[in-house]
Symmetry: C2
């Protein structure tokens, strides 16, 4: 089945996704009967490209990384001056491919989750499924976007919002039927966890943060990490999706990590404890992002460096945890690929298309 | 959609499943359009019961727990003398319900995985989907049973084989599309992990094992746990399913846990390490169950008591882990419920039936 894609956002994640799509072309075809074509690329500052018969994703990524701008990509049709990402979405909506998917990967805006939310709304209004690596839409507007998608018979997916490609939302939706999640707690921000483990080992705050920036793991604006905003956005998304909350990151009780945590982090370690930045949420209560001194035997205490984990307390399954022991750009881009397959599977489940069965 | 079920095996797991099905009747109907009826119960030593219009599951469980035998259940039709569990399966196959599911929960036979494998074959031959809480079929005969199920257009599912209801096979199959699992390592036997954590705390082997027997967590024959057979069966199932192996538990390199491990367990803990019974498997290599002295920071070292975890090394997602932090009979029975919903979802994906969409 053919899928035409428009990439809205073409930063690190978008470019890695374009390459991953190419690298996994054969498996996508063989295992999922999915043949993808990138027909549009939209960026905020580097222009737009569109070609109804397809653009070369890896070539576009290399072109941009070598200083080129998207609007000068060879193969792109000429777009009217003043065209925006919404025009690229509208272009996609004219495709006759059975799957038309907007792949949103702009960076998190912590004020209001924009323009990502507008991109999701535009995609759904234009009759396209939408998948996003951006936490904003689920953190600020999950219930509204979910209803829009349902009413349009389309998908709105965001597996990468919390732990890159490690399944969190697919885990609860696809593999824990009938189960109710009662609460969650987790370490979900790699930059601050790396800093805290460095501090407890006697290192300084500045170099530890710098390492995460150099590695491309810290957010473009690292205050989003160290002030706890990234974790708060994840807590809001988790509460909205798993606990039926209707909150934004601004509702989350929030603490961050700073140089002043060096002494408590070292002291905690000396006592066999660990200082960790922990997100917590419980049905009917306001979620929080707080520094917690945890016993050494706590699963979250054992997470070092960029490792993440989410512990879910449930009614039927007791307490379970899912952990990301190593992460990076490929994992984040993979989350989009995983969402794309979910879109394909759902379309297969509609009449006239037989789902491939795997016993 | 109506599902008629035959329970083959009616021990702790089967009885808990019968009750869970009743407790979750409303959620199964509302969330999954699934209305289940138990039409048959087959046991090896306590007789059979069958009624095409349905038996009362919770009542049957209570009856048996009060010393009654299945063949004397009120509501059962009279069965010919010499009837076996295979006759109950054949009875189910005459049902006109759109879903006919054999729910297998006999105990593990480590010699050859019987009679569970015969039950699976009989179910598939009779045109019924089959779900099992028994490790045997996946550990001894996965590839054969998988092909039989595929050829018949039916499901053969066993989510509970490794970590009770905590998703392992659903995790990889439903939430990690395109990903290749390269290797696994884990702590997957609760009884031996409880014993090892007791030993490292200075307790004795005997009482620690006795606690697991009283709690109903140890296998009916506890040598299956302490000699490493349960872990070996899980390692074989994991290797067969995740790594395309064609092995049985007898191929797995195997160690167990005994009183002699008390000193090494205490010494490891004194050095900040932990002694754990670890299953390991890698594509193309023979899996093993071995006592390993792990650094304190290892996720598996941190598992205390009955906690279990499985770490998967993958090509696209790096290293991820799924952990069961508390387990018991409800979790094991839930695995069957989860498989039942998978059967329902797959049937929904066939032409003529629309899958319920959740954005």
């Amino acid at each position: 089945m053919r899928a035409d894609l428009a990439l809205v956002g073409f930063g690190n994640v978008g470019r890695r996704f374009a390459r991953l799509l190419d690298e996994q072309r054969e498996r996508l075809h063989q295992q999922h009967d999915l043949d993808c074509r990138i027909v549009g690329i939209a960026t905020r500052r580097h222009g737009l490209a569109y070609n109804a018969v397809g653009l070369d994703g890896p070539n576009a990524a290399a072109f941009v990384e070598n200083g080129g701008i998207v609007s000068e990509l060879s193969g792109s049709q000429t777009l009217p001056s003043g065209a925006t990402s919404l025009d690229v979405v509208r272009g996609l909506s004219t495709s006759e491919a059975p799957l038309r998917v907007v792949v949103e990967s702009t960076t998190l805006d912590i004020a209001a989750g924009q323009p990502a939310i507008d991109h999701v709304v535009a995609a759904l209004s234009a009759g396209c499924d939408v998948i996003t690596a951006n936490k904003g839409p689920a953190a600020f507007a999950y219930q509204d976007l979910r209803h829009r998608a349902r009413d349009a018979g389309l998908s709105f997916l965001f597996e990468g919002a919390v732990m890159d490609g490690v399944p969190v939302f697919n885990l609860t939706r696809e593999t824990m039927p009938v189960v109710n999640v009662l609460s969650f707690r987790g370490v979900v921000n790699s930059t601050t966890n790396h800093i805290l483990t460095a501090l407890e080992d006697g290192e300084d705050f500045g170099p530890a943060l710098a390492r995460m920036q150099i590695a491309g793991i810290a957010e473009a604006d690292p205050t989003l990490d160290v002030d706890g905003w990234d974790a708060a956005a994840k807590a809001a998304a988790l509460a909205n999706v798993l606990l039926d909350a209707r909150i934004t990151p601004h509702d989350v009780i929030r603490e961050g990590v700073g140089p002043a945590n060096a002494t408590p982090a070292r002291e905690a370690k000396a006592r066999g404890m660990r200082l960790r930045l922990v997100v917590e949420g419980k049905r009917g209560q306001t979620p929080s992002v707080k520094l917690r001194t945890l016993p050494g035997g706590d699963l979250l205490a054992g997470l070092r460096g960029t490792a993440n984990a989410l512990v879910l307390t449930t009614d039927l399954l007791g307490e379970i945890a899912i952990c990301q022991l190593g992460g990076g750009l490929t994992q984040t881009a993979y989350a989009l690929l995983s969402d794309l397959v979910t879109v394909r599977r759902r379309r297969a489940a509609q009449p006239g298309e037989q789902l491939r069965r795997s016993p």
